[in-house]
């Protein structure tokens, strides 16, 4: 059932979701996660200094705590807070995409 839900959500165009970022911002966010989160988590999100962020490695983790980690960081570890760089609903959008398998990068904004 959850697989079906995930598939249905993935099939929805991102712009159609309430509170979801627009297409240019989506491109920026995907680039940010792949490249700059990728400094520690790897371009393929298989991990590095930071843990892997693949769908498999995140499965079962509560999404609220993942969103809180993105926004607030994890004190005592190198994970910095991204509040101010991404908005709250953008952090939620990033976590949703991570949980279903993150999209590939189409480059920096023009």
């Amino acid at each position: 059932m959850s697989l079906v839900c995930a598939a249905m959500m993935a099939a929805q165009p991102a712009v159609a979701q309430p509170g979801a970022p627009g297409s240019e911002r989506v491109r920026e966010l995907v680039h940010l996660v792949r490249q700059d989160c990728g400094s520690c988590h790897g371009l393929t999100l298989q991990g590095g200094l930071g843990p892997a962020l693949t769908a498999a490695s995140l499965s079962g983790k509560p999404r609220d705590s993942l969103v809180a980690t993105v926004l607030g960081g994890r004190p005592g570890t190198p994970m910095p807070p991204f509040r101010g760089i991404v908005a709250d609903d953008e952090a939620e959008w990033i976590v949703e995409r991570l949980l279903e398998g993150f999209p590939s990068d189409s480059g920096a904004s023009r």
Partner: protein
């Protein structure tokens, strides 16, 4: 006609076959002005020439290059490329082809080459440890796990550097230790352990191979080991350089390497601060601290030591600054492109190559005038490595 061919021209057949087998012959040339540019997103790299400021060839099939680093064989013909995915690829710069490749770990961060050039050593996050390979064949010759504690845990390894005597020094991010592994008899590695500061994230060895300095994420200061008197253990230098202030969030870990040494001083990125720290080698006294634009990532001395060029962490990674080491002031602040990830000086330092990831280009600057000389297209470029590294301890 056929008789004529058989009698006089028979030699053409084996010649044609031979040349077809051998493929295009490499041009006879030296390698001292060659280098590579990593194209991180596509698992490729360019072979470049600094004299002509041009790309010579592209090599594909190098795996995940998110945090790729490169060392060179002592004849500076081969580049050993360490990929994030544990791939170790030996690339022939002259033929621009892969001469060997192994996937040696699940997650790797870089590597080093031994003083005698016979061993290539990878530093790994998963499984944590170092592994040594025969530089010719890439056959595994030593596997040294970074184990710690009593529960069989293994630490991520950072800051690997070669030392005289086919020894290697490195730090353990999770175990707060510096280790020295002697691979002079690679089948029987011997490892010494030195307790160090909290969460070392990278390190450097001075060009003479004497001092090893590890940057610390979890502590206000740096860990120093004098490799001429290792029995004295690790001491903390620049303790409390952050003055107890809350460090800024770090969006990109700084990188340390022996390139930061100039004029008897080390120029070090202050983690979580908009500062470059200047410390005197030997006395380890703070000379000064230089305010800079943002959090420094690479703090690299021009080969003559007169200038230090600095790039910065996200989100200020479009900027660079130049510090005059005579006055310890910034003398230039400029924007070479979007997402500046790395820079590399030509062997004698007349030019510097700068990768601008989000502009898909490498910019080449004159280091006297600070003017741009040329740009080369490159797909999402990150690390730039020149063959002159082959002759430097710690590279």
């Amino acid at each position: 006609m056929l008789q004529f061919f058989v009698k006089y021209m028979w030699w053409i057949v084996p010649l044609v076959l031979l040349s077809a087998c051998a493929g295009p012959q490499p041009v006879l040339r030296g390698t001292g002005d060659l280098g590579v540019v990593i194209e991180r997103a596509t698992g490729q790299m360019q072979v470049i020439e600094t004299s002509g400021r041009k790309s010579l060839a592209q090599v594909s099939g190098l795996g995940d290059l998110s945090h790729a680093s490169v060392v060179f064989s002592r004849d500076s013909r081969y580049a050993y490329v360490f990929g994030r995915d544990g791939g170790l690829t030996k690339v022939d710069l002259l033929t621009a082809s892969i001469a060997g490749r192994v996937v040696q770990a699940g997650n790797a961060i870089g590597g080093a080459i031994s003083q005698d050039g016979r061993l290539v050593v990878a530093q790994n996050y998963e499984p944590g440890g170092i592994k040594a390979f025969d530089a010719d064949t890439l056959e595994l010759v030593a596997d040294v796990p970074a184990d710690f504690g009593s529960e069989g845990k293994r630490s991520k390894v950072v800051g690997l550097a070669d030392l005289p005597g086919n020894r290697f020094v490195y730090a353990l991010f999770d175990a707060n230790e510096i280790r020295v592994t002697d691979l002079s008899d690679p089948r029987h590695p011997k490892t010494e352990r030195y307790p160090a500061g909290k969460q070392p994230y990278d390190a450097l060895v001075t060009p003479d191979g004497r001092y090893y300095i590890a940057g610390l994420f979890g502590e206000d200061g740096l860990s120093l080991l004098d490799l001429w008197q290792p029995e004295l253990g690790v001491r903390t230098i620049l303790p409390g350089y952050g003055r107890g202030e809350q460090a800024l969030p770090v969006y990109k870990m700084p990188h340390l390497r022996g390139w930061a040494v100039a004029g008897g001083r080390a120029y070090l990125p202050a983690i979580g601060r908009h500062e470059v720290l200047v410390v005197e080698l030997g006395s380890w006294k703070e000379v000064t601290r230089i305010p800079v634009k943002s959090q420094p990532v690479f703090v690299m001395a021009r080969p003559d030591g007169r200038e230090v060029w600095v790039n910065f962490a996200f989100p200020d990674n479009g900027w660079m600054q130049v510090i005059d080491t005579f006055t310890n002031r910034t003398v230039n602040t400029f924007q070479p492109g979007r997402a500046i990830l790395h820079l590399e000086f030509t062997p004698r330092g007349e030019a510097v190559w700068i990768s601008a990831r989000d502009d898909n280009k490498v910019a080449i600057y004159d280091t006297r005038s600070h003017q741009k000389l040329a740009e080369l297209p490159a797909a999402s470029p990150s690390g730039i490595f020149f063959t002159s590294r082959a002759f430097r301890t710690g590279f």
